[in-house]
């Protein structure tokens, strides 16, 4: 069953997996918020590289794309809200080490046990020529409902997130009965209104 290429693949996946775990650990070791965030990004990129080694190009690349953007935005918030964002003043960034160690070890044991206990399916068909197309067919066919559900969830996220995040809403901008012709904004936007 093991061919030369799967041997290489296993080796690559193992190295990248270790890299991913190591940069995951680095998140909790470094003092700087920037370093912690980008260590986490490094971990995600290693996972993306594992996917790429498995020939799942679309999933790999989209993982790298989304995670980088998200980590860049996360860095903005981490640095805005955390004390000492550059880690220049030495201070510990971890709390409740014992509790989290227990939770972490427990999760590790459960997941590892899961990997060995689950009866993984064996591929019966040939490798598809184009996994991206297969994904599209699944999304537009059997998993359409999932996509629509996610659409509504994203819509709700946009509404709720904006509602919570903005201090000034439409009533502040257009007046109590929303009749103002131009919004009263301290800073103008790009549209003439």
């Amino acid at each position: 069953m093991l061919t030369a290429s799967t041997g290489w693949l296993l080796a690559a996946a193992a190295v990248l997996g270790v890299l991913s775990v190591a940069s995951g650990v680095a998140v909790f070791v470094v003092d700087s918020m920037a370093r912690a965030t980008f260590a986490l990004l490094g971990s995600f990129l290693a996972v993306a590289a594992v996917l790429l080694a498995l020939d799942l190009a679309y999933l790999a690349v989209v993982t790298a794309l989304m995670m980088t953007i998200e980590m860049a935005i996360m860095a903005v918030f981490m640095i805005a809200f955390m004390m000492n964002p550059a880690g220049l003043v030495p201070m510990s960034m971890v709390h409740n080490t014992r509790g989290s160690a227990v939770v972490g070890a427990g999760a590790f044991v459960v997941l590892t046990a899961g990997i060995w206990l689950v009866d993984w399916p064996v591929r019966r068909t040939a490798v598809p020529a184009d996994p991206t197309r297969q994904l599209g067919e699944a999304l537009m066919g059997s998993h359409m409902l999932v996509m629509l559900g996610i659409g509504v969830a994203l819509f709700a996220t946009i509404l709720a997130g904006t509602l919570l995040a903005t201090a000034r809403g439409r009533y502040d901008r257009f007046g109590p009965d929303l009749t103002a012709h131009r919004p009263a904004d301290p800073v103008r936007g790009g549209l003439a209104r």
Binding site: A57, V61, A64, M66, I69, A72, G189, G190, L191
Partner: protein, 312 residues
């Protein structure tokens, strides 16, 4: 479209990669030279090659308490990502590397740039650089989705995310005819992620050069070269996605491709330098309320054409 031989298959991986890097650097050189010539308006300008040598001779700098690791990663990252984006740009009818998600790869190389540019701003622990880095992220919020929709529109018409398939699908008609909006948005977004021309706010004069303000020597070389190579890659990609790649009468494909790419570079530079800075706080509202709906409308038009069998 099935089996597409890549450049690596044809020439061997390392020679093909060497050729791609050489093309990428040459086009980056051309972009910089054009840009400087247009900016100087006829006067003499220092050539990019000479400037690169100057920067290699120049001392590097470091500031008190910088984040040296991240700073270095950011500078190197800009250059490496620019070259990495060339992996899927077709030269002739083949690209160096071909997967079922080429367009997403190009998009991802540019997305990882978010991190790299921000790190270049964060690294030196200096106010102007930091402000520039944050401006880049703010700008990214405006251009990222339009860019993505423009890429998707081209992939939609070709029914494939493989760049070589997209080129092949334009045998009958260049995509720019049916998707002019996507073409323009793609080029504008490219200027934005290379923070060049009217999207120069992250390195603007008003923040004394922003992310580049603390860079000297080889650090500055890597970041400026990376920006130029990215712009060149975007021009080459625009040719492949919208202008039929190497298609054209009389001349061989690669020549046509080169001619078209240089024409796109000239057009982009001329058009970009005619405009003042589009301030990111203004651009973001327009991007969301105008540009995204318009690009989506473009995608809808193309989708209907696809259903009608227009693209064969």
């Amino acid at each position: 479209m099935g089996e597409t031989a890549t450049l690596a298959d044809a020439w061997g991986a390392v020679p093909a990669a060497l050729v791609v890097v050489a093309v990428a650097l040459a086009l980056g050189w051309a972009v910089t030279a054009t840009d400087r010539a247009v900016l100087a308006g006829g006067g003499p300008v220092p050539g990019p090659g000479r400037d690169a040598a100057r920067l290699l001779l120049e001392q590097r700098r470091t500031t008190p308490a910088p984040d040296r690791l991240l700073w270095r990663l950011g500078c190197a990252g800009v250059a490496v990502l620019a070259l990495a984006s060339w992996a899927v740009v077709p030269l002739g009818s083949r690209s160096l590397w071909s997967t079922s998600a080429d367009l997403v790869w190009f998009n991802a190389a540019e997305a990882v740039l978010w991190a790299a540019v921000w790190l270049v701003g964060w690294g030196p622990n200096a106010f102007a650089a930091l402000t520039g880095g944050y401006r880049f992220l703010a700008q990214g919020l405006a251009y990222e989705l339009p860019l993505m929709f423009a890429l998707i529109t081209a992939g939609l018409a070709a029914g494939s995310l493989r760049t070589t398939d997209v080129v092949a699908a334009q045998a009958g008609l260049w995509f720019v005819v049916t998707m002019p909006v996507a073409f323009v948005v793609f080029l504008a977004a490219a200027a934005a992620f290379a923070f060049w021309g009217p999207f120069d706010a992250p390195a603007g004069t008003d923040v004394a050069g922003g992310v580049t303000s603390e860079l000297s020597g080889v650090d500055r070389l890597l970041v400026s070269a990376g920006r130029a190579v990215f712009l060149g890659a975007a021009a080459a990609m625009a040719v492949a996605l919208f202008l039929g790649g190497g298609a054209g009468p009389w001349l061989p494909g690669p020549v046509w491709q080169l001619v078209k790419t240089l024409a796109v570079v000239a057009l982009l530079v001329r058009a970009g330098r005619r405009l003042p800075l589009l301030r990111p706080d203004r651009a973001v509202e327009v991007a969301w309320v105008v540009v995204i709906p318009v690009v989506l409308l473009q995608a809808l038009v193309v989708a209907v054409l696809v259903l009608a069998g227009f693209y064969g």
